[in-house]
Symmetry: C2
Subunit: 376 residues, 2 copies
């Protein structure tokens, strides 16, 4: 066993020539998926792990690029001797279709117009993502995923994998997710979308052609999103009512540190993210409702599935609270599936899924070690 502590990042672009028939009715004739891999596919080709990213994620999930200091977005989870241990697992993460980090999406050139897709990029769904991820799996010559893992919107993809391709997934890890969005969840997404679409630089989504970006709207959307990722308690601990300066100014500049933090988060985000992609990601969340979509078929698919499930929630997550995770558990138990569930104590809010936490990481290690892969 290779026990190196350095993580080698391999990356590539999969050019998929197979047309993708989208849930919306539209078709993408071809597309590319940007991905990274870590660790090695073993001879039995039974140690592949797919990591699915959430709303603002990308393919760079672990390791540090040469010359940079900031690691991938889930570097605490993935690497040598980490819960998703690259000493014996082959980890794949991709930028999802519609993303803005190298996979085909609104910032890509539309081959039929030679201009950026912009608003012309079709709306994709979690089902479409999973279908495209299957193409990537085949491209990488992986027969099936030993694990599909994700938090939030990433957890929805992991759940969807178990329903859409039950024979191609052995273990599904679904973290801080839900079977569908509530009206309140959709409402927050809608305010974020309206913020972007009311920005004067929006130009009906074709802002790239005009050489501008709806940065103010996107920053607002991110600020709002950020509030829903943190718990009330963690905000209290981190900022409370602490002032930015020594005393109140009684004007509309920053008074409290939380205001400064949010403005910074918004401004930072727009430098690396595309507004059309943000809109698409929120729609993916809104549309996700596999139980309604599949109806009776859901039970049939689950009956045939041999997939083991780990469902995790965090006590202070108010975006997808523990009761939403238990809805997933209930559906799985009703179908006699092999399910482990843990509610992890954390005050990290929804973002807790990205944070190091002994109970959380121990549970991950334990479940991963207990898979047939490790037993074999």
């Amino acid at each position: 066993m290779n026990t190196t502590l350095e993580l080698n990042i391999n990356n590539g672009i999969a050019n998929i020539k197979e047309p993708l028939n989208l849930v919306s009715g539209k078709t993408l004739d071809s597309y590319q998926l940007k991905y990274e891999t870590y660790g090695s596919l073993n001879k039995k080709r039974d140690n592949a792990v797919l990591i699915c990213h959430a709303l603002s994620g990308n393919h760079h999930v672990a390791g540090i690029y040469k010359g940079e200091t900031k690691p991938g977005w889930w570097d605490n989870m993935i690497g040598p001797n980490k819960p998703i241990d690259t000493n014996n697992l082959f980890v794949v993460c991709l930028n999802n279709l519609g993303g803005c980090h190298g996979s085909t999406g609104p910032v890509s050139t539309n081959p039929s117009t030679n201009k950026p897709y912009g608003a012309e990029f079709p709306i994709v769904t979690v089902n479409d993502w999973v279908a495209s991820q299957k193409q990537l799996m085949e491209y990488l010559n992986i027969p099936y995923w030993q694990f599909v893992v994700g938090g939030s919107l990433g957890g929805m993809q992991s759940f969807q994998w178990s329903l859409q391709y039950p024979s191609l997934i052995k273990n599904s890890i679904i973290i801080a997710a839900a079977t569908k969005l509530t009206a309140q969840n959709i409402a927050f997404n809608e305010v974020a979308r309206q913020a972007i679409m009311k920005d004067p630089n929006w130009h009906n989504g074709n802002y790239l052609e005009k050489g501008v970006n709806p940065d103010q709207g996107l920053a607002l959307a991110r600020m709002l999103g950020h509030i829903t990722y943190l718990s009330d308690d963690s905000m209290k601990e981190k900022f409370g009512r602490d002032l930015q300066e020594s005393k109140l100014k009684f004007n509309f500049d920053v008074e409290f540190q939380i205001e400064s933090y949010l403005r910074y988060q918004g401004e930072k985000f727009v430098t690396g993210f595309d507004a059309n992609t943000y809109l698409l990601m929120t729609k993916c969340l809104d549309y996700f409702d596999p139980i309604k979509d599949l109806g009776e078929t859901l039970n049939n698919r689950l009956k045939d599935s041999k997939c083991r499930f780990l469902v995790l929630s965090f006590t202070s997550d108010w975006r997808f609270p523990p009761n939403r995770s238990r809805e997933i558990v209930k559906i799985l138990l009703n179908n006699n599936k092999n399910v482990s569930y843990a509610k992890i104590k954390s005050n990290g809010g929804h973002d807790a899924f990205l944070m190091e936490n002994k109970d959380y990481f121990d549970t991950m290690r334990c479940f991963i070690k207990g898979s047939r892969h490790d037993k074999s």
Copy 2:
């Protein structure tokens, strides 16, 4: 006793010539307060009730204007035989200073420039409001308030009355409020403010001079606010994931009913509200922190106070949840005050304070009937 079931609305404008020294350090040399009254001040002048409005409220709290159909914003609570019974109470409600419904505020003409105040209107605080309300009390020849009543930001004013003028208030009713905003509360306010101040029609707050309004920003602010007024459960009951049309369209038009509802709420709001006033109201909320402001003085003031308190919270309110109300109760109990507290079961969220509810209304009636006023 007059037992008429019709509510007569009297209204007027109090021109206050006494300068108001604001907490910010600025001074308003004179100002006007628009108010309404219902019922009659009795001979002993001991039956006056002040109703304090919340963020988007105004002086029209009860009754129906001739030719209109929509009653005041708390008409279920105030009127003949209602919990705040105008058969024996004299009810006063004003538009707060800085408002946009007839009291001096950003839309008023600044006497020193003959232009609308706009961004020049000074930031006011809850303390300033209470000081101006005392001026109105004197203007109306009322020696003290038998009750000061309010929900949300209105409840903060009621609490502040008991601290600022302890000898001029007999009973304070504090509903769905808190002693101060949390970082999360401030964060939501800040996103709302940024939405307004990033609107291209904002013009640094002097949009009226330009003949425009930052309607899109204000609508966004209202949409966001609205999410925080409703509970997750009530949104689920009212909208769930119901579609606007019979099937999904996979575009950025309204898909779910909740989106349509929010857009409508935003659009409706901007026809009757001023953006600068909205900003001011959110700042009033942010700055409110009487326990910090008064420090040791708080206890002294409470010691001298003979005020009875009723503190009410609602189970599904996540803007100011019951534990925030209990903080108020704790402070009062620590000072041996006469406090009644009830947590009312309701799925109405923060807005529950505006909704009819038997337990809530019975508690209000009971507390009001038990006051020295009725005993005398």
